[in-house]
């Protein structure tokens, strides 16, 4: 197809949603209202770690406008894990914490209260009395892995188990042999903090009982079928009874991928027969909704004097908080990319999903990769400095080519790093050496190999 016949590519096209945005006429999830709509508010754990010994609802039930409280006993399948849909085990997180069990992070839901007005729901929540036995909490990953640490999970240690291993492992070549032969060893430790996605619109949904026993759920989720399928599992209702309507999302950035609000709102709609609105307040969004994981990335590289990185050993700790949510997947992505867009013939990766009594972490823009890129690129600069080599040259020397094998045994088919760096150099007015300008990402054999 010639360029002339393209009607969209290369053209500036008005966005179809623009007019709705600038006139304020878009209907976002919370802009809807329904006759008889109830407001759902949550009684949350005031501490990081405790055993729930009892709940007293007697004063809450007297609040004018109180309609119904939901507790663990109301939830058909109360223990779930979001990635159970793709076979991740075990189920670990309570939708509502039962009496006798533990709350594992500050803000974990215990009781949900539906009331006629938001004010009544807030008042009733304030009147619920919890009997909690506070337990020692662990808030740091190195502490959580140390012997004798408080155990967060129900299976006895503080790591997620990958096929019988306590970390996600990649073994490629022989790093120890390569380290022994390397001219230099360059080590680095990189730490990142949890980050809240902080969309301007908070997480929330409205569940509405519909005809034929179905429930229509208006939600601002970023993952509509994740929400639908998990709701179906937790509430033990066939998916065809759930009609989820999404689409208009006031910012997400990964913060609206977890399945947090829909199951409870739908359950409340089932139990009361009325529409139920469950919307996070800003404080809930900031404190309870999952964040980007904090990471501690420790890298040891074996490097030759000519700039080739010949071995890399990476140990990465990911703080998933109290529950794993999307973090095991994030770690698998990390493990596959621990070498970055470079060819390193010997790679050893141990990436741990570490449980602590912090707010669960989960998805956020490029999760697993973004923080790794930060660490790997600072590490590249450290190597360049150690070797006294130009950083541009170091990147070209190590850039992967089509046909290279990545540590997780993926054959590279779409390498464009070299061409991208050449274009970037031109954009910033950096004059590359002629031999770097001539390079391409074509398979090494065509260039005579390494």
């Amino acid at each position: 197809m010639s360029e002339e016949t393209l009607s969209v590519v290369g053209q500036s096209v008005a966005r179809s949603d623009g007019l709705g945005h600038v006139t304020g006429r878009d209907i976002y999830t919370f802009d809807r209202t329904f006759p008889g709509m109830l407001h759902l508010k949550i009684v949350r754990s005031p501490v990081h770690h405790a055993r729930l010994r009892g709940v007293d609802l007697s004063e809450a039930e007297k609040v004018p406008g109180f309609v119904r409280a939901l507790s663990a006993a109301d939830v058909p399948h109360n223990v779930y894990t979001i990635l159970g849909l793709i076979g991740v085990e075990p189920e670990e997180e309570f939708l509502l914490t039962p009496v006798g069990e533990r709350v594992r992070y500050k803000g974990e839901p215990i009781i949900a209260i539906a009331a006629d007005t938001e004010a009544a729901a807030i008042d009733a929540v304030a009147k619920v009395r919890l009997d909690l036995e506070e337990l020692p909490a662990v808030l740091d990953m190195d502490d959580a892995l140390a012997p004798g640490a408080p155990v967060v999970t129900h299976w006895g240690n503080n790591t997620f188990m990958y096929e019988g291993h306590n970390c996600r492992r990649v073994r490629f070549g022989d790093v120890d042999a390569a380290f022994a032969k390397a001219d230099y060893i360059v080590e680095g430790e990189y730490r990142t903090s949890p980050i809240e996605q902080a969309p301007v619109e908070t997480t929330g949904c409205i569940a509405v009982p519909a005809e034929n026993g179905r429930y229509t759920v208006y939600t601002n989720t970023q993952a509509l079928y994740f929400s639908l399928d998990n709701t179906s599992i937790i509430l033990q209702v066939p998916g065809n009874q759930l009609h989820f309507i999404g689409g208009m999302v006031g910012g997400g950035f990964g913060g609206k991928v977890d399945v947090i609000v829909e199951p409870l709102a739908t359950l409340a709609a089932m139990k009361t027969g009325r529409p139920v609105r469950y919307v996070f307040t800003r404080q809930e969004e900031m404190q309870v909704s999952s964040t980007r994981a904090s990471e501690t990335i420790r890298i040891k590289d074996g490097v030759m004097a000519d700039g080739r990185i010949v071995a890399r050993k990476v140990v990465n700790l990911f703080d998933c908080g109290a529950y794993s949510r999307q973090t095991p997947y994030s770690i698998t992505k990390f493990a596959a990319n621990a070498a970055g867009p470079y060819f390193i013939p010997n790679v050893y990766v141990d990436a741990y999903c570490v449980y602590t009594n912090r707010t669960p972490s989960s998805a956020m823009r490029g999760f697993g990769i973004t923080m790794a890129s930060f660490a790997l690129e600072v590490q590249m600069d450290k190597i360049a400095e150690k070797l006294g080599i130009d950083p541009w040259t170091l990147h070209f020397i190590n850039a992967y080519h089509n046909g290279d094998i990545k540590p997780h045994r993926k054959v590279v088919e779409d390498a464009t790093l070299i061409e991208t760096m050449q274009a970037a150099a031109e954009l910033v007015g950096h004059e590359l050496a002629p031999e770097l300008k001539r390079m391409t990402s074509a398979p090494r054999s065509t260039e005579g190999g390494r």
Binding site: D17, G18, G24, Y28, A198, P199, V200, T202, G250
Partner: protein
Amino acid sequence: MASVIVNLEVSGRAVEIIAAPLTTLQSVLRNQLGMTSVKEGCRQGGCGSCTVLVDGEPMMSCLLPVEDVAGRKITTVEALSTPDHLDPIQRAFLDNNGYQCGYCTPGMEMIAKALLEHNPSPTRDEIVDALAGNICRCTGYQPIIDAIAAAASAGQEATR
């Protein structure tokens, strides 16, 4: 709890509402008057997505008891356009992609409206100052600043 009757003018329309004590203007606009351009982002005065004009001055409607604005003139984004005419500010936001998810857009437009009423030809710094209370998590602000600068130029053209 004794509800109160409050009269006010909202986007050119005289309204009488009944509200529980200390009900916010934001709640009345959204839940009673259906003016859902007034967004709920934080209800702490921190995000600016509920910005409205009270007698021409920008305020956070989430922090404002409706009783305190009895008799005042409230302007929301609904007042800016008609079905066949966009306000120059809306036009500029559209042309400059001054939005992404759109959630902060009405608040941004109201602060822009107030700014251009006070200062028809603001510098880029003055635009940035005016936007200090309005959070956008998508755009990185540049297209929004561009849009307001474009609206100001359009306004200058029109008055020339």
